[in-house]
Amino acid sequence: MKIHVNEQVLELAENTNIEQLLVHLDKPLIGSAVAVNQDIISRSHWADTILNEGDNISLFQAIAGG
């Protein structure tokens, strides 16, 4: 199925969850935040949130500087 990750199209297997997506993209699990269709999904729900065709995923890191 096709999803968008940070506005880039990605081909992904059905029934992939967020945690699996991050591993697939080689993104760090610590310090990352994930939003699906502008809604941030808490870390505790990454393993049980399944992605769907057409989902817009935004991945970003915590910024601590100031």
């Binding site: 502008q38 809604d39 941030i40 808490s42 970003f60 915590a62 910024i63 601590a64 500087g65 100031g66």
Partner: protein, 249 residues
Amino acid sequence: MLNDDELLRYSRHLLLEDVGETGQQALKNAKVLIIGMGGLGSPASLYLAAAGVGHIVLNDFDHIEVSNLQRQISYQSDDIGEAKVEVAKRKLQQINPEIKVRSINKAMPEMQLTMELTMADLVLDCTDNMASRQLINKACVDAKVPLIVGAAIRFEGQLMFFDHSETDSPCYHCLFPSSEEQTLNCSNSGIIGPVVGTIGTLQALEAIKYFVGLPSGIKNKLKLFDGKSLDWQTFTINKDPKCTVCGQH
């Protein structure tokens, strides 16, 4: 009641229906704690002092270095070596002698932070590290004090507002549960002055709106700022029921 000087000083507020004398009085009565007086805290504190926030408490343990001057606009060259909060306090009082400014020139231990929160209506997180942010978040959740969080690096900024006086508010930890320090910080990654300045300025704007009674458009949202495109992204922050900080609140 505003005196004649205040009526003149804040005339541009008084002309706004959304502020008026009532709003200005609310600003006068407001007590804001600004933690971190670097790139975020500088513009935030300058604008809040100018706006007439009646009680501003500045907290930082740092001294001014030459590399700060590129973006920490409260400071100038002949301030190098001085404590940030002392210089900033002087500057804010010069901008606005009507307000009260207090400085805390140390890294506050948890107990002192808790005590300070009993005297604050609002906190601005203007710090530069994750450990401080987690500490401030927990203290504000426990004390039920609203928190405006700003952060910036390179050309990017993040801005959030959590009203911890409301039950069921999410918190910073719901979004970023790790206390692990980010490998990217301003001294190894760089930052553009106006980017951190934009975020700090918006922290002040959100604070003013809070006190005059305007609803926040960013409550429980993460605003991401891209200083290259000038695009903003908005994401909804949901309360994590398993959050170890606010999950039980």
